[in-house]
């Protein structure tokens, strides 16, 4: 391997990776230095990206080209900057209200149209066998999916009759569904936890592989 920018960046990456691995010995100054370095580099990089890929092409260029529509984001951005001042921070509520309102509307609309209707439709389609598939398996899979969905919803249904001694109590059917739904939720959370462990293991393996490859590169093996 020739000495060049790639070689330098491999050396730097190798050293930084070893320093991050040293965290298993405990939190120490070197590890904190590496963390600060990553945060600083990321912030600087993001700032440069925002200037040259957002402000300039989306605000400065339209203003220079005479677009009056760009004055609106300029005004809203100026009002948002007033949030830094305690005296005029209330003027920053205008763009904040706009962002929160539009964001909430977009999120609600997407959740309804994209998730609720889409998931209901998908659950209903599970009862229909695919081409060449067994209808029994389709019904079984669809039924299992439907029971899991209803049971999970039943678990989060906290209404109940008023008890004589110990507050509200679910009826028997709802209690059974809730118990089943708790099983489904436990399985789901276990899978998510396993997926997180998988992601962590992947990061460990990827870095370990990089260290091994770098060592092999230096040793020539």
């Amino acid at each position: 391997m020739t000495f060049g920018p790639d070689f330098i960046w491999i050396i730097v990456s190798f050293i930084l990776t070893i320093l991050v691995f040293s965290y298993f010995l405990g939190d120490h100054a070197i590890f904190r230095f590496v963390m600060a370095l990553f945060i600083g580099v990321s912030a600087g990089y993001i700032a440069v990206v925002l200037i040259f890929q957002v402000i300039v092409p989306r605000l400065v260029v339209p203003l220079l080209s005479g677009s009056q529509l760009a004055l609106i984001p300029l005004l809203l951005s100026g009002l948002l900057l007033l949030k830094l001042s305690s005296k005029f921070s209330r003027f920053g509520n205008i763009p904040m209200a706009y962002l929160v309102g539009v964001g909430a509307a977009v999120a609600v609309g997407g959740a309804v149209m994209g998730t609720i209707i889409g998931q209901v439709k998908g659950s209903w389609n599970e009862f229909f066998p695919s081409t060449g598939g067994s209808p029994f398996l389709a019904y079984l899979e669809g039924g299992f999916l439907l029971i899991g969905t209803l049971a999970t919803l039943a678990y989060f249904h906290f209404n109940g009759k008023k008890g004589n001694t110990t507050g509200g109590k679910r009826n028997m059917m709802m209690s059974i569904f809730a118990w089943i739904g708790r099983i489904f939720i436990s399985i789901t959370l276990g899978v998510v936890f396993a997926s997180v462990l998988t992601a962590a293991a992947t990061a460990l393996i990827e870095r370990t592989d990089f260290v091994v490859r770098t060592i092999q590169l230096f040793t020539g093996r």
Binding site: I46, G114, T115, L197, T198, A201, I205
Partner: protein, 782 residues
């Protein structure tokens, strides 16, 4: 005990009283051995209010002296000396009495008792200062001195009967005066309303007319009002001639009001005698009747200074129309207002306008002070009356502990709580309780009391004054200090056990050991054990479907690759996405890179660079366009789903997307050959699904996600909302296996499988330990 009957109201009074408690009339001199009530009643019956006393006090005294002379031969010398001394004293007192009663009889037009009071006050005030020490002792208690005269009993009895006889005529005259004034003036007060005493000499206002006020108002109130006026010394000399023995504290009414010129000179009490008179008059204000008047009369208004006016000639004691009172009322000039010396009684400065206002012609007041004027609470209470219903002490209900939670005691703010009186604070203090072995007080339970010092209710010893300002150590602070000292002595020193240190050391050792094991497995799996992996028998459906879709992407349409992941997941994303990217590069597709996270653009370009090692024929310069960072999150994605060309106008190189070779034909997202979203979070993937999937049409939506996002994305794939899904390093290895590539993470399959196996083992072992060991008592679970 003998009681004294009042000659006016015929009620009984105590022997030591000088005035009737009920009607405030002057009581006749009292002698202890005299059967006064009987004689008085008998003589009163016989004479029918016109009885002439058969013997005067002087005659009785002469008879007594005669009998003493007769018995002088048989008495020793010492007894004669005593008797002679007593006789001389008796003569001196007798002379005073004679002069007193003679002047009293000579006065007409006023009640006897009232005239005597005025004369007494006149006498007191007319005494020169140089003779004051000699006169004052005799003046202070003239009646008491008569009482002490043992030999003068019969004389005094005749004396007071004589005064009673002389009193009858003025009383009738007084009734006539009152009846003549019923139209415009109030009727003179009844005997019950007559004040007991008068105040010391005070300075009257210049225009003040005593006779008018006297006729219009009650005698007592006028004397009360004029009690604080200082005395004019110039007037004293003129009144010396009229000196009489008056009761203590009485002033002649004629002297109360003098011209303002004289009053200005002596508006301040200057002599010691005046001070003594004022002080003595204060003690006489304890009558309940006077207290009632204090509540009724506007004494506060009386304190206002008088207005200077021309002096008016003295008016005889005759009633005049009330309208004149308005003429004489005026406000004092500021020059007349002189400051009061410290400790002096305020001069009688009456605002006559306000005083006379109740007696204006428009109003006809028959009673100077009505009961209606009294407050309600005071009108129902008579002097000396005790409340009919005794106040019952509050009975505190015993607190029964029935198990119900008691409300917590409210807490005041610290600054306010510090200012509470000590008595209001339940301070816990540490005291020594008796030990179980000690003898307990009767009725107390000692068995439950611990032997150590305990916190019990305190004995309050502080006072609110101790909670004043400044740096003071309050009882509360002392108590807290004592409490802390008790706690400090009772707390056992915490010893850092060697076991805890060993446990902490064990944790570090175990953590380091696990890290070393994981690193060792990863290294061995990537090197020595690289070929010892388990081949998956079944490929996941979503990965296979993704591979199929990539193969069906039209070549004339670009592929939008949107990076929405953090830099920390760049390693996993690289292993997952690299086979998919290589597959598309092999097909020589055009790429449009978009970064939802600012760093993703560089990471995606780096992956394309890495993919070019496997696909060297791929021309990245002409096949890849960087759209740069696309801000706005879900809103921007939704906007881009509606119109890509409007949402993304420029590339990262500031080239118009409508003119760029790759994107010039793209106006909507459906114009892309495929949408590949690379993300590490299920939330980000869901945003893309929700916002753009409904408008994609036939354009496939492919997701390349981290492993942690796959469980929540699979339902969207199952529902058909997502066309392809490659999640995590395992999904990338499978895609690589299908693709038949040697890049990507398949070389680390052994490491991945070993590491995941180790993690699963640790989770199972930890769960087993958590379930089993706490039941056996050997666990650490808390």
């Amino acid at each position: 005990m003998e009681n004294r009957l009042c000659p006016i109201c015929s009620r009984q009074n105590n022997p030591q009283d000088t005035h009737c408690w009920f009607c405030n009339a002057e009581l006749p001199p009292y002698t202890p051995g005299e059967d006064q009530p009987t004689d008085w009643l008998e003589e009163l019956k016989n004479t029918d209010l016109n009885l002439e006393v058969s013997s005067s006090p002087i005659e009785n005294n002469q008879d007594q002296n005669r009998s003493e002379k007769e018995s002088e031969e048989f008495t020793p010398n010492w007894l004669q000396k005593i008797r002679s001394r007593e006789a001389s004293d008796r003569e001196e007192k007798k002379a005073n009495e004679e002069r007193y009663w003679a002047e009293k009889r000579s006065k007409e037009g006023l009640p006897d008792w009232l005239r005597s009071l005025n004369e007494d006050a006149n006498e007191l005030n007319s005494i020169p200062e140089e003779t004051k020490p000699d006169v004052e002792p005799e003046k202070e208690q003239p009646i008491e001195s008569l009482k002490s005269d043992e030999g003068g009993n019969s004389i005094k009895a005749d004396d007071w009967l004589d005064s009673l006889k002389t009193w009858q005529e003025p009383a009738e005259e007084k009734t006539e005066i009152s009846s003549s004034q019923t139209e415009n003036t109030p009727v003179a007060s009844s005997p019950e309303e007559v004040p007991e005493d008068s105040q010391p000499l005070s300075e009257p206002g210049e225009d003040f007319d005593l006779n008018k006020i006297f006729l219009l108002s009650e005698e007592k109130s006028n004397q009360e009002l004029s009690s604080n006026l200082p005395v004019e010394e110039e007037k004293k000399d003129e009144l010396i001639e009229d000196q009489t023995i008056l009761p203590e504290g009485f002033n002649p009414l004629d002297q109360l009001f003098e011209p303002i010129e004289d009053a200005a000179k002596s508006d301040v009490v200057t002599t010691e005698k005046e001070i003594a008179d004022i002080e003595s008059s204060k003690t006489l204000d304890s009558s309940p009747f006077l207290k009632n008047l204090d509540d009724v009369l506007p004494f506060d208004e009386f304190d206002q200074p008088l207005e200077q006016k021309e002096p008016e000639p003295k008016v005889e004691f005759e009633p005049e129309p009330n309208a004149n009172l308005r003429e004489i009322s005026s406000e004092p000039s500021p020059e007349e207002i002189t400051p009061l010396p410290v400790g002096e009684v305020k001069p009688f400065a009456v605002d006559m306008e306000k005083v006379a206002s109740p007696f204006t012609p428009e109003e006809t007041i028959t009673e100077p002070f009505k009961l209606d004027d009294l407050p309600e609470w005071l009108a129902d209470i008579k002097p000396g009356e005790k409340p009919s219903t005794p106040v019952k002490p509050k009975v505190r209900r015993p607190v029964v502990d029935d198990g119900t939670p008691m409300p917590e005691k409210g807490k005041l703010p610290v600054w306010l709580d510090a200012r509470r009186p000590v008595e209001a604070v339940d301070l816990p203090i540490a005291i020594e309780r008796p030990k179980p072995g000690e003898i307990a007080v009767e009725g107390e339970e000692v068995s439950k009391i611990p032997s150590e010092s305990a916190i019990v209710a305190p004995a309050i010893t502080g006072t609110p004054s101790e909670l004043g300002e400044g740096l003071r150590v309050s009882n509360r602070q002392k108590t807290n200090a004592a409490l802390l000292s008790v706690i400090a002595t009772s707390v056992e020193p915490v010893e850092v056990s060697a076991g805890a240190t060993v446990k902490i050391g064990n944790q570090s050792v175990w953590r380091s050991l696990l890290a070393v094991v994981f690193l060792l497995i990863a290294v061995l799996g990537g090197t020595i054990l690289k070929d010892y992996y388990l081949q998956p028998e079944l490929f996941p459906e979503e990965v296979v479907h993704t591979f199929t879709l990539v193969n069906t992407i039209p070549l004339d349409k670009p592929v939008l690759i949107a990076g929405d992941f953090e830099a920390g997941f760049a390693g996993e994303i690289r292993l997952t996405f690299q086979p998919v990217l290589e597959h598309m590069m092999r097909r020589d597709l055009n790429f449009a890179l978009m970064a939802i996270n600012p760093v993703d653009s560089a990471l995606l370009e780096n992956q394309i660079t890495n993919g070019m090692t496997a696909v060297p024929s791929f021309d990245s310069a002409s096949k890849v366009v960087d759209l740069g960072y696309f801000p706005g999150g879900a809103i921007a994605i939704q906007n881009m789903g509606n119109s890509f060309s409007n949402a993304v106008r420029l590339t990262a190189d500031l080239v118009d997307t409508s003119t760029h070779e790759i994107t010039k034909n793209v106006h909507l997202l459906s114009d892309f050959g495929a949408i590949v979203v690379v993300t590490d979070k299920s939330e980000n993937a869901r945003v893309w699904i929700e916002q753009i999937q409904p408008g994609l049409g036939e354009t496939p939506l492919l997701l390349v996600t981290s492993a942690q996002a796959s469980p929540l994305i699979i339902p969207y794939y199952k529902s058909g909302q997502v066309d392809g899904l490659v999640s995590g390093m395992p999904g990338g290895m499978i895609y690589q296996k299908i693709l038949g590539s040697n890049t990507g993470g398949f070389e680390s399959a052994t490491s991945m499988q070993l590491t995941l196996g180790l993690m699963a083992s640790l989770v199972l072992i930890g769960g087993f330990v958590s379930l089993v060991l706490p039941k056996t008592g050997g666990g650490k679970r808390q």
